[in-house]
Symmetry: C2
Subunit: 207 residues, 2 copies
């Protein structure tokens, strides 16, 4: 199972590295970070670079595509190289997936038209404008199109995908290997559990 | 608040990127990835490189040190440059912290002697041999020494630290910005919740 994660300027690092870690720990899985040109790609904070080791052209038919989100999504939605790669690779994938605002990129490529999908809570409604049907779940599965909510939701999505690709015990093995037994010290991780004041502050942080 | 995350060959990417994302999202926080020489450092899967942008010498007195774990820990425990940097920087930190087997590196530098600490469940008991007192909690705080359990536990630790460094609403704001409202699809994230068979498989995966 070969997973391709495209990197574009100002992606959010955890969107990519959360599911990467889950999938790369699984036996028989390979993850490749791809970009228009190989080399370091700088994230949304401007301080961390992840290295793409292959071009889009190098990997025309991955088994899984996983598109991260981030403030750079808007520019990536206008990147013909990325969009063309998505359109040409998608018919061959077993799963085409995204984390956070990465679903906006899939939708822009026309891959979520008429499909249920999710994204970061702050921009969920806007998926309508790109032809998808927004669903406020942490992981949304519509056929082979699997989308996750904001940033950290990619970890949950990857465990779900891994169980489908292999079996539940294998996914549980990886979950235990990465000790994914979350204990958030606060209960403000969703717009439903956070106060209106925290919601407003979070919005100003991510825009 | 300046946070330094040392990178060494075969670190586990999520150990570093989980807490990085939490802390780098927080206003007034800066995170720098450091290494003996600047440039890409390859992780434990051999497929992902994160770029260190500064040397240890460039950053002698960070406010926070956060040491990731991974299969490369054993070699890092013999790296005099890393150990000397830790020993010389530690007296100046507000917090000296680790994720996963990163606590073995802190302990080797002599920084956890007589202190309570945690690490990945698979190697918890061994912390005794380095003079620390192992505690099977997700995040263990002993004065300014804060250690997290395996891999994904760094996210919980970083939110705890952020609340201490600022206030709870700021930590909640970041939690909501990264939509950290975990919904693990399975309940196998700790050795207590996983079956003996899954524990055995996970051990073979990480060794």
């Amino acid at each position: 199972m070969h997973v391709a994660i495209p990197l574009y300027p100002r992606f959010t690092a955890l969107d990519a590295v959360g599911p990467y870690t889950v999938l790369a720990f699984a036996p028989g899985h390979q993850v490749t970070f791809v970009a228009e040109t190989p080399g370091p790609v700088v994230d949304d904070r401007g301080t961390l670079s992840l290295t793409a080791t292959a071009t889009y052209a190098d990997l025309p038919t991955p088994d899984v595509i996983l598109v991260p989100g981030g403030p750079g999504t808007l520019q990536a939605m206008s990147d013909p190289t990325l969009l063309n790669w998505l359109r040409q690779a998608d018919p061959h994938t077993r799963w085409t997936t995204s984390v956070c605002s990465g679903s906006y990129i899939l939708a822009t490529a026309g891959l979520l038209t008429g499909r249920k999908a999710t994204t970061h809570w702050a921009v969920l409604d806007g998926l309508h404008n790109l032809g998808a049907t927004p669903v406020a779940n942490r992981v949304v599965i519509d056929g082979k199109y699997v989308t996750a909510a904001g940033v950290s939701a990619g970890i949950d999505m990857a465990l779900t995908l891994l169980a489908e690709a292999t079996d539940i015990p294998t996914a549980e093995t990886v979950q235990l290997a990465i000790e994914y037994d979350p204990e958030p010290p606060f209960q403000a991780g969703s717009p439903a559990s956070a106060s209106p004041e925290i919601r407003e502050r979070a919005l100003s942080l991510i825009v």
